[in-house]
Symmetry: C2
Subunit: 267 residues, 2 copies
């Protein structure tokens, strides 16, 4: 079992990814795919007159601020366009993909963060009405029912709060929680970089191997969005996943190349 | 088993529908919901600079012309915003709803109409690149797997072509095919009118009862979009569904009121 998260950058090669998923599943390897959609969400939200707002939390993470208008764009692009276009690419390649979000059937349950403490112009502010959360449960019974029905799940990182609200959750950490729940051997985090870079954005500074015991010490090496990938990797390893790989999603054969060791391998 | 199709008009009361779904499922009646989304799709597509184009086919039906840009808007609104906001309304009411489209897992298979013969300014034209089709298969194995997993399916009317392409399919006829495949007793078509009207838009001309043997003779009574509902009703009845009801989706308790006979009942 291989759980893959593919990012949502403008330069992601989705057809190449889907070619590789078809090749890998044909070899009998089971896949669950979690996807991003940030670039297209920003484009659509801006076109609809509700441009995205990014905030830096007090703990130093950069997050999308998700009020109800932002959630509409998020649902449209993540659960609509990106999810279904990926399913279509896979169906066209003979893979019986099945797209849904973590809201559906409470596939991903999350605790809503009622308030978000952010830093803006050096000052701390409290934001309310943010529709984000932290995953605290995976409905593995439902996920297994889908697998047993013979489909390849394609999951948008939207979770269901304990009150039934749709929440924006981090895709890398969602994939990590799914990998743990399904006892996957490998978690593959594909995005617009070749892996974890010691000196971002210098791609020649790629870190090839990280011993699993050292993963937390790499939180300081990771910049911006990569911090969530390191957090996801740490959560997956702590939950029993053997190997986490960060690889490049802009190239042909992205899965095979990452599995062959051409990314950052943590094990 | 009750299969419900709810329309996508601007005046549909989705919270009221979801209140009633919660009440009906609490009485032990199993529900599958198919939904529309036309009004919101038109709004979003127009805002994104690709306004909808409606065409009249040679056989007299009004259809949405779905090129790839229109399909993007269709996927965003139907499979994204509307599907997930309905799932959220149901989850908030304690109903474990599960949203997907007919593309997912080939839940709905359809034959693509490669060309569309339309009438424009009195002349016949052929349109190519239209992404629409006619359903010729329902994956009832997968649908039953979802039901046995204890979730209420909420389905966007998008089908999978035999080449794996996403197709826009008629929601009323999709609901009819699902009702037949699941051997549902009742198909309920809820929209922005109280039922089939003898003199549209005069709501006092509501036709209360149609004997099932007479359904085809009502094709001429039905105007515009209602023709698809009559076709769906005829297909459902021919496929073994006992009762088809057309009811009002703009009011409180729309399901209970329709089941009580306050729409057009065909049986």
């Amino acid at each position: 079992m291989l759980v893959i998260k593919v990012g949502g950058g403008a330069d992601i090669d989705y057809p190449a990814l889907c070619d590789d998923i078809a090749a890998v599943t044909a070899r009998g390897i089971e896949i669950v795919l979690v996807h991003g959609g940030s670039h297209e969400t920003n484009r659509v939200a801006t076109a609809l007159g509700t441009p995205p707002r990014f905030v830096t939390t007090a703990s130093g993470h950069v997050s999308r601020y998700t009020d109800q208008a932002a959630m509409d764009s998020f649902l449209m692009v993540y659960a609509g366009k990106i999810n279904k276009r990926i399913v279509e690419l896979l169906q066209q390649r003979g893979v019986n993909a099945f797209g849904c979000s973590g809201l559906d059937g409470q596939l991903l349950r999350a605790e809503r963060k009622a308030t978000l403490r952010i830093v803006e112009n050096g000052k701390q502010l409290m934001l309310r009405d943010d529709r984000t959360g932290t995953i605290d449960g995976v409905n593995s019974t439902l996920l297994n029912a889908l697998r047993h029905a013979g489909v390849v799940p394609v999951i948008a990182p939207i979770a269901c709060s304990h009150q039934g609200d749709a929440l924006n959750v981090d895709g890398d950490r969602a994939a990590a929680q799914i990998a743990v729940a399904l006892r996957a051997e490998t978690l593959l985090l594909l995005s617009s970089v070749p892996g974890l870079l010691r000196a971002f954005p210098d791609e020649s500074s790629l870190i090839r191997i990280i011993p699993r015991a050292d993963i937390n010490s790499y939180m300081d090496v990771a910049q911006g969005r990569m911090k969530k990938k390191v957090m996801g990797a740490a959560e997956a390893l702590a939950g029993g996943v053997s190997t986490v790989i960060m690889g490049d999603a802009r190239i042909a054969n992205p899965i095979s190349i990452a599995l062959a060791g051409h990314g950052t391998t943590i094990s």
